[in-house]
Structures are given as structure tokens and as C-alpha cells.
Symmetry: C2
Subunit: 163 residues, 2 copies
């Protein structure tokens, strides 16, 4: 139990709509080898090339998307072993990046290869074909961590074959 | 006009709810000096300490939040000059990180200082007091850009005093 419940003045619900859609050579959610895939992001109406103006000056973008194949009605456990791997510790849902999570939001920083009209070709996007995109942001080095990064061993092991 | 409208099979609307709330010494949205602020993130019910289990092994987290003071009904221009600064170019809404954007999603990577029960103390979170948090993810170095980053001069100028 949460001993100090917060007042939920701005708890939602908040309504979101896709601004773009992913087309990918991967159609099923599998864990590893994302760099082997090719992917594009195409804006949905009413967005036009004007919304991408100047984006070609950036080498990388952050893509915010929805894990749309995850059933939002299915209860999300507050902790689990990543990928069910018994060699890794039980960790909280906010201490891992698994797709079965509250609000089903995925974030990926990927390389922007080309922009053709309203379609971005990208490298390293870990989203399957048909994924709704909620936002696209330019990657700025100033938003990278400002201090040394540490993370547990299991997370390095999990990521070993991811890209 | 968008010459190749996409079928909007998974366009939404998608409903999201806050999983946590920000408490910050900054109560109004201003542009610069975020590192001078102190901020905490407190989980909302039904989330408990179990959802944070193991997060203390990570030095940094990615916080996904809502720019809740932005009116979602207000039309977002597809391009504008960042901060209205006439020395900077007109750029698309997806080529900048301004808060007045579709779906009002903000993302910030910040340093995790301590965890006390269901409250995280963080450094470098650019969100004002009362901000709804939609997700918390551990920062993994494997998700950083895999190739050299380039970005336009105006974006470095804009970020000069941000943190």
C-alpha cells in the first residue's frame, strides 16, 4: 500500500492521438536485433512537411510511440523479472523498459537517415510495423546525462544483442 | 497538404493517466536555469514501492510527462521560431522541443539522487510543480545515439542557459 497517497489534481485521463505511423520490416514484437531492421515514420494528417522543417539539420531524433499490441486493460505487475529470465532480479516496472507497462509508452533515440516529403527514414527504431507515433523530438546533446551513468549488470546483459 | 495521407488504423484516441506527480521549487514555466531547482517525483496510487524495486541501481532516469498548462484545444502551429527569437530560423514543431506541441509530451533525462518510499529526488528535471508524470524509465547507455551527433547552431544557442 502507498502510505502517502497524493491528491490526483492532474491525474487524467489525458487523450492522445497518433501524429505519425511506423512502417518496419519487423511485424511482430521480438526482443533483439533491431539494427537489422529498416523503418520509416510517416506523418498523419493534418501534419505536413512544414512540421518537419529544419529537422534535417539534426542527426538523431527521439521517437515517442505506443506499444499498441499491449492490451491496456490487462493488469501490469508492479515488478517482474525482465524477459522472465530467472538469472535476472525481480525489478519494478519503472526500473525496466518492458513494453507491458502503464500507459504503454516507448521511447527510442534513432538516427535520421533521410526525409522524403512527410516520411522519415531512420536507423535503430525498436518499433514494429503499424506502431502509432505520439511525438517526434530532435535529439540535443544538452539533454544527455550531465554526470557519469551507472546501471546494473543485468541491464547490460539484457541489451547485449538488442541493437 | 499531405499528398500521401496514411490510413489511420491505430490513430487513437489513446487514454493515458498520471502514474506520478512532480513537486518542484518552480511553479511557472520559464525557459532557463533548471539545474537550480530541486524536484521530487511521487508515485500516485495504485503504485507502490514495488514498482520502483531495483531502480536505485541506476544513476539516471527518463521521465515522460505532460505539459499540463498547455491548452490542448489551442491549435499548434506546424512551424515557428523557437522562443519567438527572430535570430533563429523558423522550424517545424517536430524539429524543436517547445512545450506547445501535439500531445503535450515532455521527456527529460535526469539524475536520480535518492528514493524515499514512493518519492524520487532528482536533479535536472525541467518540469514545474504539479506536472503529471506518464512514465518513468531507467536510463540505459545502450539507448544513447550509436553514431556521432550533429545539431544546428541555433539549438546550442537556445540550450546555453537551459540547465
Amino acid at each position: 500500500m502507498n502510505p502517502t497517497p497524493e491528491p490526483a489534481a492532474h491525474a487524467g485521463p489525458f487523450e492522445m492521438r497518433a501524429v505519425a505511423v511506423v512502417h518496419s520490416s519487423r511485424t511482430e514484437a521480438t526482443d533483439d536485433g533491431w539494427d537489422d531492421e529498416t523503418a520509416t515514420i510517416t506523418l498523419l494528417e493534418p501534419f505536413t512537411t512544414e512540421a518537419l522543417r529544419g529537422l534535417d539539420s539534426f542527426s538523431h531524433i527521439e521517437v515517442v510511440y505506443l506499444f499498441h499490441h499491449v492490451d491496456p486493460e490487462r493488469a501490469v505487475p508492479q515488478s517482474r523479472r525482465p524477459r522472465g529470465n530467472t538469472y535476472w532480479p525481480q525489478v519494478g516496472v519503472f526500473a525496466q523498459r518492458a513494453k507491458n507497462r502503464p500507459n504503454r509508452i516507448g521511447i527510442s533515440t534513432c538516427q535520421l537517415i533521410t526525409i522524403d516529403d512527410v516520411t522519415l527514414r531512420v536507423h535503430g527504431l525498436d518499433a514494429i510495423d503499424g506502431t502509432p507515433v505520439l511525438d517526434i523530438k530532435p535529439y540535443l546533446v544538452e539533454f544527455a546525462p550531465h554526470s557519469p551513468v551507472t546501471q546494473p549488470l543485468w541491464s547490460h546483459e539484457l541489451m547485449a544483442e538488442y541493437f
